[in-house]
Symmetry: D2
Subunit: 299 residues, 4 copies
C-alpha cells in the first residue's frame, strides 16, 4: 500500500507543577526555597501510545514522589536540583534516555521587625520569577536559566523615529516617550560547574543597569545592549534570548479640555502591544541548540 | 391590581479600570504614580433604565476623560485624588447625588545603577497592591484604604490544636506548622485631613510585624493581633477588615521512601484553602457602615 | 479610661473552593455534577481570635470532609446541597449560629459520537458559571442564585445619544453600535421549596431573549428589561441584581487608508470599560437583605 | 583578539494581540468573526538592534493598522486572513524576508428567541479557542492549525496499571478512574488550497469521538488514537502535536466516615498534574519543521 504508516513522533511525559517548599532549619535563622517543578521523561514509550502497555512507564505520580524525596537532602540552586533529578531518572531506568526538568522559583524576603530581619517570617518579593530548564540527552546535560515578569519602565530617555512610512503608517515620530516592558530572558550555559545563584543575580543586575542606562532609539537597541553586557561579563553563557513586549503608554491628548500635556499624563494600554524578540549570542554559537525545544518562541 | 410593580432599586454606573500613569517631571529625578481607577456615579438615573432617556447620564467616556484631565494638576495620594473626583462629579451635576471612586496602586522602585538610584528608570515592586475606596453620599465622604495580595509566610511559630472533633474530623493536632497567607485588609478612616501615604506605610509595617511576632495558635489570632496594633496606633481608623486565606503547606510523608521529614519538605496546595475573615474595630463603631457596600465579603 | 476598647466585629471562617465532582452511576448513562464549594461558619468564635482557644472551632479541614461525606448521598441542585450543608453545621454545633455556603457550577455536555450522545464522555460547555449562595441566620435560610461570565453581543440594534455634555465630553452620539457585555446576575428567592434547576434555566433563557430583543438606547435599558422579564415570570424571586460591563467595540477609522468602514471592522478594547450595575425588584422588597453581605457590589 | 564577537542571532518583532471583530452585514443575518491576531516580521533588522537605526523597521503600529485595513475586504477563515497578511508584508518591503502570523478565534453562537436563531444577537460558545499559525520563509508559506482549552472528561472507561515500580512508587493500580484533560492540539498542513473551516470542524469532531470511544489504558493511548484518526481522514495533514494534561480526579476516601465510595465522589486537583505530549505523524514526515519554531513544547 502506498500510504505511509501513521507513527509516533517525538514525545515526552511527566508531572507538571510540583509545588515544593523547602525550609532549611539547620539554624534558628530559617532559609526558604519555593519552587514549582516540572519533570518530563523522554525515551522508549512507544508501547504506551500504541498498545496501552505501561511496562516502560515511570508513573507521573512516582516522578512527583521523587521530587519530594530528593528534596530531603536539600535543594540548593534550582539548576543543581534539576541536574540531580535528571541524573536520577536517566540513570535509574533503561527506557529513559533523556528528559527535561524545569523549575520556577519565587522570591521571599525577610520581614523587618524593628528594622531587624526576622528569623522565620517572610514576605514575597517582586513580581518576577526565576526560571531554569535542564535537558538531558543521554548523559549530556544542558542548562538554560532565566527570568520572566521583570517589569521595568523608563519615564524618559526613549525615542522612536526614522521608521518606514507606507500607506498604512499613521504613527508620528517621537523624541521622548515612556519605554516599558516586562522582560523574559533565558540564557544557555556552556558549562555545568557554576555558582548558578551568583550568576543569576549578576545577569539580572546587568540587564537592569543596561535597560536604565541605554538611551533608547528602539526597544531592539535596549534589548541588544542588555544581552551584550551579560555575554561580555559571563563567558560561561553562549547565548541569551529575550522576549520583550513594548507596553505602550500613550500621552493623553488633553487639548479638547484646554490643557497641555508635557509628557506627564499617560494611558497605559493593555492590547495590542509591540513584541520584540531576539537572540544575542557569541559569533559561531550553535544557532538552534536542542535544549531550546519546548521553550515557546524566543523564550 | 394586587401584584407589586417591578421597579428600579439601587444602582450605579461609570467607567472601570482607567489606567492612569502620571510622571512628575518637576526635577530630573522623576516620580511615577501608577493607578487603576474606577469611577461610579449614583443619583437619578431612573429614566435611562426604564425609557432609555440619557438626559441625566454623564457618559462613562466623559468620566474617563475627567480622570485624565484632573490628573494634569498632579495626583498625590490616591485617596486625595479620589476625593477630588468625588467633589467634582457631585458638585458639577444635579442628578449626581453621590458615587464611589476606587483606585488600585502599583509600586515601582528605582533601578540601582552602580548602587545609586536612577533618576528615571524603575522596576516593579512587590506583588501587593494598595487600594482606596472613596464614597460620597451627598457631600459626605468616607475613605477606606487597604491592600491586597500581600503574601507572607512563617516557617515555624504556628500551632493548631484543641478544635472540635466530630464524625467528620480527621485532622491531627499540630504544634509546628507553616503559616502562610495572602493578606487582604481594608480600614475605614474617621477623618479626611490625613497624610494617607504615611498612614498606609505605617499600617502595612504594623501588620507585617504583628504577623511575624505573634506565636500563632490559630490564624484568627494572628489576624486579630494585626488589626489590634493598627487600631491602637491609629485613632483615625475606626475599623479594619481582613480576608486571609490559610494557604496550606503540608509536610510530605516521606515514610514510604524510608525517610523522615523534620518539617523541612512541604507541598504547597492550591485548593481548597482555609478562609478566615473578620473585622477588628473600636467598641461602639458603626457595624455596617454604608461605605462598605460594594466591597465583597470582608474585603 | 476614655479610649474605647478594640474588639472583634463580624467574622466568619471556613474552607474555600472545595472542588467536588460527583458521578451518578445509577445507570450506564452517567450524570456529572461539577462544583466548587465554599463553606463558612458564623457564631461564637471570639476566643479563637483573642486567645487562640479553638474549643469552638470546627476545623476547616472538617468542613471539607463534610462536603465530600454528604455528597455520598447525591448532590442534586447546588442550592439543595448548600441547604443540606447549612442545616448540618447549624444543627450539629452549638457555637455555630449561622453561616454562608457558596457553590459555582461548571457545565458539561455529552460528546456526540456518530450524532448520538455518549453515555460517559463529556465536553465542557460554555464559558459561563452558575452560582448559588445560601445563608443561614439561625435556622432561617435564604437562597441567592445566579450566573457570571455569560458573554453576549449584539452587532446592531444599539444606540447611545442624548447624554450630558460638559467640558470633558468628547464622545459623539451614535445610532448604531456593537453592544457587548459579560452578564453577572444574582437573584434572591423568597421561598425554598423550588425546582432550582428549572428556575435557573428559565431565568437564563429570559435574560438572553431580553438582551436580544431589546432595541437598546442605553445598556441600562437592556439590563432593566432583562430583570423585568425574570421577575414577571417568577414570583418566587423578589429581586435581581446585575453587574454588566460595557465591553467597548470601537469602529476603526480606516479613513487614513482611503477606506470607509460601514460598521464592519471593530477594535475590541480591554480597559477601561463601562460598568453598569443595578437592582430590579418588586416594589416594597427589602432593599438591603443581609443575604447580600459578602457579595461584592451589585453582584 | 581571541574572544568571539557578540552578535545578533535570530529575531522577529511585531504587534501582538490585535483584537479584531468583524461583522459581515451583507444581509440582515449578520456574521461575526472574533480574532486575536499577532503579526511578527523577520528579515534584516540588524541596524535597529545595534545602532537604533529604524530605516528597515515597519512600525508595529503600522502592522496593527494593516490588520484592520485588510479586514475591510472581509476575513474568511483565519488561516486565509493570515496568508493575506503574510503575502502583503513579505511582498511590500524588501527588508522583510519572512514572518509569523498567528490568530486565536473565539466562537459565538446565535441567541435563540422563541426557539429561533436571532439575526444579530450572539452568545459566546465553549471555553475552547481555535488557533492558526502561518509562517513565511520568503514566499514559502506553511500553515499550522489547532485548538486549545478543549476540556473533556470520561467518567469511566479508563484504567492505569502495569507501570514501573521502584523505591518511590506509591500509586496503586486502577481499573476504573476518571480521565480528564484539556486538549491542546496543532496540526501542520502540507497544502494551502484548503477549506480550513471545514477541516478544522472535522478534526475537532474526530478528536472528540476518539477520546470518547477509546477504552483507555493510558492517556498516551487516547492521545495517539485521536491523532491517528485525524491523519487517516485528512491526507492534507502531515503531523499533529498534542499537549494533554492529566487532570487528576481522586476518589475521596470516605472510609473514616464509615462510608464507601463506589467511584462517585471525587476531588478535582489543580496541581500537580500529569502532562502528556506527543507528535503523531506520517512515517517519513519532517520531524522538526521550522514552522514549529515559536510554538512552546509540543504545542
Amino acid at each position: 500500500m502506498s500510504e505511509p504508516a501513521i507513527v509516533l513522533g517525538a514525545n515526552q511525559y511527566g508531572k507538571a507543577e510540583v509545588r515544593l517548599v523547602r525550609i532549611d532549619r539547620a539554624t534558628p535563622r530559617h532559609e526558604i526555597t519555593d519552587l514549582n517543578i516540572t519533570s518530563q521523561l523522554r525515551g522508549d514509550f512507544q508501547a504506551a501510545h500504541t498498545e496501552g502497555d505501561n511496562a516502560n512507564i515511570v508513573a507521573t505520580d512516582t516522578q512527583k514522589n521523587t521530587v519530594y524525596a530528593l528534596a530531603r537532602d536539600g535543594v540548593g540552586a534550582p539548576e543543581e536540583f534539576l541536574l540531580r533529578l535528571g541524573r536520577h531518572f536517566t540513570g535509574a531506568f533503561d527506557a529513559v534516555t533523556g528528559g527535561r526538568w524545569e523549575a520556577e522559583q519565587y522570591t521571599w524576603s525577610r520581614i523587618l521587625v524593628d528594622g531587624e530581619e526576622h528569623d522565620h517570617a517572610f514576605v514575597r518579593g517582586g513580581t518576577e520569577t526565576r526560571s531554569s530548564v535542564v535537558t538531558f540527552d543521554g548523559a549530556q546535560a544542558t542548562v538554560i536559566s532565566g527570568l520572566h515578569d521583570l517589569a521595568v519602565l523608563k519615564s524618559t530617555g526613549s525615542e522612536f523615529h526614522g521608521f518606514v512610512r507606507d500607506r498604512y503608517t499613521t504613527l508620528a515620530d517621537t523624541n521622548d516617550r515612556i519605554l516599558a516592558t516586562s522582560v523574559t530572558a533565558r540564557w544557555r550555559y556552556n558549562r555545568l560547574d557554576l555558582d548558578f545563584d551568583r550568576t543569576f543575580a549578576d545577569a539580572r543586575r546587568l540587564m537592569l543597569e543596561a535597560f536604565a542606562q541605554t538611551h533608547s532609539l528602539a526597544l531592539q537597541q535596549s534589548l541588544f545592549e542588555m544581552g551584550r553586557r551579560v555575554l561580555e561579563a559571563h563567558p560561561e553563557i553562549d547565548e541569551i534570548r529575550f522576549s520583550m513586549p513594548n507596553l505602550h503608554h500613550f500621552a493623553v491628548d488633553l487639548g479638547p479640555f484646554g490643557l497641555d500635556n508635557p509628557h506627564e499624563v499617560f494611558y497605559a494600554a493593555d492590547r495590542p502591544y509591540g513584541l520584540i524578540e531576539a537572540t544575542v549570542q557569541r559569533e559561531g554559537a550553535i544557532g538552534n541548540h536542542p535544549a531550546w525545544d519546548g521553550i515557546a518562541g524566543f523564550c
